[in-house]
Symmetry: C3
Subunit: 165 residues, 3 copies
């Protein structure tokens, strides 16, 4: 996976052609990134590694591309666990929408995916795992603010808690 900063953010220097290498220091947090995954990359692992490396605290992502296999999740209210649905087939990634928030101080990726099969039928769920083939084109928009997750024992998940942010 490779990344390119498309914009330095909403602050100084953001609208110059040299945004990739700004001449002056900038405050953190408002950048727009393009990430391009390559064959065999796993999407959630790659996004999480990128978010941790760059200290993302409150970001949004969208992507399109294709997977050679994917594991979808559906959160079951009774068991409080994700049911895993695995597709071992080449699929188009029709939309990958998600956010990056802090959970226990570390960036955590939360993404839902819609995939298209060879006959144009569609499946989707919480993205647990997906291997890229041939590409996945992701846009990440940072914000300068923080989103923090709190574990909710009544639900069985960590959810964004704006009172904590």
């Amino acid at each position: 996976m490779k990344a390119k900063r498309m914009s330095a953010g909403a602050g100084a220097g953001a609208s110059t052609r040299s945004a990739g290498s700004p001449a002056k220091p900038e405050p953190p947090g408002g950048a727009v990134w393009a990430l391009v995954f390559e064959r065999g990359d796993e999407a959630i692992a790659g996004l999480t590694a990128f978010a941790r490396e760059h200290g993302l605290t409150g970001s949004q992502l969208t992507a399109i591309g294709a997977f050679s296999d994917v594991t979808l999740g559906y959160f079951e209210r009774t068991s409080r666990e994700y049911r895993r649905i695995r597709l071992e087939e080449q699929v188009e990634v029709l939309s990958l929408v998600g956010d990056i928030a802090l959970e226990n101080g570390q960036p955590k990726v939360h993404a839902h995916v819609v995939i298209g099969r060879a006959d144009a039928t569609v499946r989707g769920g919480h993205l647990l795992e997906g291997h890229v083939w041939p590409t996945l084109e992701v846009i990440i928009r940072e914000t300068p603010a923080e989103l923090r997750k709190t574990h909710r024992p009544d639900i069985g998940l960590a959810l964004i808690n704006l009172d904590e942010a």
Copy 2:
């Protein structure tokens, strides 16, 4: 539903860590908001109330999360009405994409949704109503401009009319 301003917008102060409480006045219109809905909240009512409270005139939104029930719409060309398809089941919100424009001077939310069922099959349509469980994470990006809708009697809908904006 709770809201947090993630960025003061494209103008001054947008890329500081203190964006939530800017030290200086800012022009309206470019903010990025995170909205987190809670159990039982209805999404369209909550988005509409937020848009009216904050005077949104031309914004975009994306979201992921889950609903405990949802009513989808399909606009029928002959009857010029929305056919209503109701799902009384727990579903993942795989994508919620929409915009906020002015209709008769008031902010109006227009959103389409793709939902995932327990077996990862998918349904979707115009979002008429959806009750959140356990969360819905929405990002709204304001612009400083206006989008205005005009009722189109030839179609039976109010559509964004850039000549009016």
Copy 3:
């Protein structure tokens, strides 16, 4: 299809109400555009013409609306060609997500679409062609940077290559 610049971008003047007609020159590349397609417009042709007219070099787009017919693509690994799936029916555009990058120096639109049928079942794929009825509401976010595509003979497609950008 009509277009309106919603924001002059991340640089000077972006957060004023007069963004549609800024008083001072601005650097290229950070604008937000609203495009509204009308009945009969073909989406890919319209987006491509807009991107070329405005010299878009690295942009993201999302849209909702409806089509009166659509041709979806699924990229077959063995034949290295898109299988074409055509739907001759009125469908909701539930999500249209994509990007605009340079291929051989010209802006090229890459978009994936999820569509909803009258019974709320869903289909999707790479968007090859879609005719709008009654509207398609597109938001394009420019960046000041470039994304460049390189033809990959090993795959049979041109892919974004960040080493070239």
